[in-house]
């Protein structure tokens, strides 16, 4: 079983490398991270934190959008594309189970995303550190950012498999992926914001809102990075909601999501007839 998963992962990795996906994703990450790091470098002095901390804080906001986007761009085609090309039926007649097929792709794509994130955000972080100073604390914050951004990506890779299995065609899968991204990354927060404004500081805002927020993996990612580092919280100016939650809430949410998403994607894939 392990051998089959690795064989699938290896082939998938080869494809990601060969079709320039890995290069492009790394390039996009790096470009945006560098741009944000320098655009956001002005207020360093006033907050009394080093530049890497500021950079990590801006990159956290960036990664909330970019990691799910890149993950979905990679994964939406995984099943719909194979079915469309007619390669799925032959693959499914081999002794690899559907869970193994999904796991092989997952390993390769999450690894690719991890590499792109580490290189992209890491290099921007190093530039920031060289330019404006770093501390052991801010270096840890950078490592945490890279690890959690990869975890966030893993959630959306698995969610992408689920909708790829649901969709009738690659085009439909792409549409679903765009919708999913919009809901998790943009609309969810807008909705919460609206609810908080309507509530006007009542029970919902104090007790329920933080939990609903952290249930969204994108927000859990943000909360984890902000709550874990005082400097980052300061720089981002949004430690408020994070403070009312226990420390474990965001990590538990972000660690559970990939698992749940993968299990449900496998369940949907099981019902697919090639």
């Amino acid at each position: 079983m392990i051998a089959r998963i690795f064989a699938l992962a290896r082939a998938e990795m080869l494809i990601l490398r060969r079709n320039w996906w890995l290069m492009m994703a790394t390039g996009i990450m790096m470009l945006f991270a560098l741009a944000l790091t320098f655009a956001g470098s002005a207020p360093t002095g006033t907050l009394g934190v080093d530049m890497l901390t500021i950079s990590v804080s801006s990159m956290t906001t960036l990664a909330v959008y970019l990691a799910p986007l890149l993950a979905l761009m990679m994964s939406f085609d995984a099943i719909a594309g194979e079915r469309d090309r007619g390669t799925l039926s032959l693959l499914l007649t081999y002794p690899a189970g559907r869970g193994e097929i999904l796991m092989g792709k997952f390993l390769a794509q999450v690894t690719a995303l991890g590499i792109a994130t580490a290189l992209g955000l890491g290099s921007a972080g190093i530039v920031a550190a060289l330019y404006g100073g770093a501390s052991p604390e801010s270096l840890i914050a950078l490592s945490r950012l890279i690890a959690t951004a990869t975890l966030l990506g893993a959630v959306f890779v698995a969610l992408g498999y689920g909708l790829s299995a649901l969709a009738k065609s690659p085009a439909a899968a792409a549409g679903l992926a765009a919708g999913l991204w919009l809901v998790f990354v943009v609309l969810f927060d807008l909705g919460l914001l609206g609810a908080v404004v309507m509530d006007g500081g009542g029970i919902f805002t104090q007790k329920i809102f933080p939990w609903v927020m952290v249930a969204n993996p994108a927000d859990a990612f943000r909360v984890w990075n902000i709550a874990a580092s005082e400097g980052v919280a300061l720089a981002s100016g949004m430690g408020g909601a994070a403070k009312t939650l226990p420390n474990w809430a965001a990590p538990v949410s972000l660690l559970l999501w990939p698992l749940l998403a993968f299990v449900s994607a496998r369940a949907v894939f099981r019902r697919v007839e090639p």
């Binding site: 494809i15 039926s89 499914l92 081999y94």
Partner: protein, 299 residues
């Protein structure tokens, strides 16, 4: 019965409310080559997908060397060549075959020898995107040869192949059968499979209407032999009247007779003398046979 590699017993399949397979029985012994014939939409691919466990069986049962369709054991023992086979365009032939070999497990096969066997040795390191349809078909065949399948299912294997490749294809099918693999070949063209198979099963609208050797099928169909009599100019009408045949043009007459009355008929026509210049005999063609068994109203 137990020594059959593939046993299909009264298999039914529904697509929505329409029944696409009805009560299909079919067995294939180890080393046997069986052709599954039928027009487009007869249900050949559906039956193959049921054997592979890719689609559900709505009635009856299927056993692959004793295992259930789609089980790990069954998947390890079957080889499949899909209708218009395709692969990931970004991988090379060798990479794709290596992946399949690893998925199949067992001994590491000699990938280069396999690619050579199907005539792809020149293109092993080229991306599949650059392959022609025929080359993809060959790569598909190479993956059929991985491992030692007990059952090989080939869906329209000749489509997209030129005549020379067809010879190669049949050489490979015969090799598989010689090693004890039960081979089921789905096709809509009888001429493709006639001489190369031990038995022919014909599906018509999801119902098996025939299942026998080619010789027996021809005999049972009782199709007439066609005679074309070439006559001297201007004599066609007269001969047509005398033989009970049909005038085709001024110089030829056509008539049909049963196989067992052929000699009697020939003698009668020969006795007509110099008016008859020549006689051409055409035994029932395979296409006629196929048409006979797949005709409406026949069961």
């Amino acid at each position: 019965m137990m020594d059959n590699a593939l046993i299909i017993r009264s298999a039914d399949k529904f697509r929505g409310k329409t029944q696409v397979l009805t009560d299909v029985d079919l067995v294939v012994a180890p080393g046997e080559r069986v052709a599954l014939l039928g027009h487009n939409g007869a249900g050949k691919s559906t039956l193959i997908k049921m054997i592979l466990g890719l689609t559900s069986i709505d009635g009856g049962d299927i056993s692959i060397d004793g295992a259930k369709p789609g089980s790990n054991v069954a998947r390890a023992r079957t080889a499949f060549l899909p209708e218009s086979v395709n692969f990931h365009p970004t991988l090379t032939g060798r990479e794709q075959l290596t992946l399949f070999a690893r998925l199949a497990g067992g001994d590491r096969p000699d990938i280069d020898a396999l690619l050579d066997r199907v005539g792809l040795s020149e293109a092993t390191n080229n991306r599949i995107a650059t392959y022609s349809k025929g080359m993809r078909q060959r790569l598909g065949l190479a993956q059929v040869l991985l491992g030692q399948p007990k059952v090989a299912l080939l869906d329209e294997p000749t489509s997209g192949l030129d005549p020379i490749s067809r010879q190669d294809l049949y050489a490979i099918i015969n090799e598989l059968a010689a090693h004890g693999t039960a081979v089921l070949i789905a096709s809509h063209a009888l001429t493709e499979v006639e001489a190369q198979t031990d038995r022919i099963a014909i599906l018509r609208k999801g119902i098996k209407v025939a299942d026998d050797t080619l010789a027996n099928l021809s005999h049972n169909a009782g199709l007439p032999t066609r005679m074309r009599i070439l006559v001297q100019a201007g004599q066609a009408d007269q001969i047509a009247k005398a033989t009970g045949g049909e005038r085709i043009n001024g110089a030829s007459v056509e008539l049909y007779c049963d196989a067992n009355q052929k000699m009697q008929e020939l003698r009668r026509i020969a006795a007509m003398g110099d008016v008859v210049a020549d006689i051409e005999l055409t035994p029932p063609r395979l296409e006629d046979l196929y048409r006979h068994y797949s005709k409406e109203g026949q069961t």
